[in-house]
């Protein structure tokens, strides 16, 4: 079964700084990978997804992620964060053989200091 690890429960950065949120997955093949963001009192919103092709995928609001198969990683990056990016970010995975079940990491709470 697939699993996801987000090793950083909290990350604090200053506005304008670059950002990397780490995600490692466990799956024997190539899974479907996602990053979601959860703002306070809001549902989860999809930032980006990876199925195949270019390992660097672009998402909304300037976010991107890179799939590195050899490292089983799918880290999220942003060149310059804004205070409004403060939220909880979840990495998620689903198996191509069982796409009706998405497995989430425990999230990274991002705080952007003004």
């Amino acid at each position: 079964a697939q699993s996801v690890t987000q090793p950083d429960a909290r990350v604090t950065v200053s506005e304008g700084a670059s950002l990397q949120l780490r995600c490692k997955y466990s799956y024997s093949g190539t899974p479907y990978l996602f990053w979601y963001v959860q703002y306070p009192r809001q549902g989860l919103q999809l930032l980006l997804k990876y199925y195949s092709g270019d390992p660097v995928v672009q998402g909304v609001n300037g976010f991107e992620a890179e799939f590195i198969k050899s490292n089983s990683s799918f880290h999220l990056r942003k060149a310059s964060v804004h205070w409004s990016d403060s939220a909880v970010y979840f990495c998620a995975v689903s198996a191509p053989s069982n796409t009706n079940k998405v497995v989430f990491g425990t999230g990274t709470r991002l705080q952007v200091l003004p």
Binding site: Y32, Y36, R41, Q42, G43, L44, Q45, L46, K49, Y51, V88, F90, S94, P96, N98, T99, N100, K101, V102, V103, F104, T106, G107
Partner: protein, 114 residues
Amino acid sequence: NSKVIQTPRYLVKGQGQKAKMRCIPEKGHPVVFWYQQNKNNEFKFLINFQNQEVLQQIDMTEKRFSAECPSNSPCSLEIQSSEAGDSALYLCASSLWGGNTEVFFGKGTRLTVV
């Protein structure tokens, strides 16, 4: 923006009481998911449907939890006899073809069992 509507947003129940929450998936989405998100941001998959039929569900769901997605009516998740450990955010989500396409989440129902 997601159009998955969950009601109520907040639910407070005593131990042993029934708790029922509803979800209207995005129009045209045949696949509906229910997840439980606890205070540690751990997601637990509960059940999913495709066109009113149960696709997968966990054992916990089979005992005190019940869910349905009747045609032309909101989907629902009901806990027959609430326990303190059921206190969590219950998220409903829907998608077109399952977890490999974008899954749209509602804002959730926060259940507190006192």
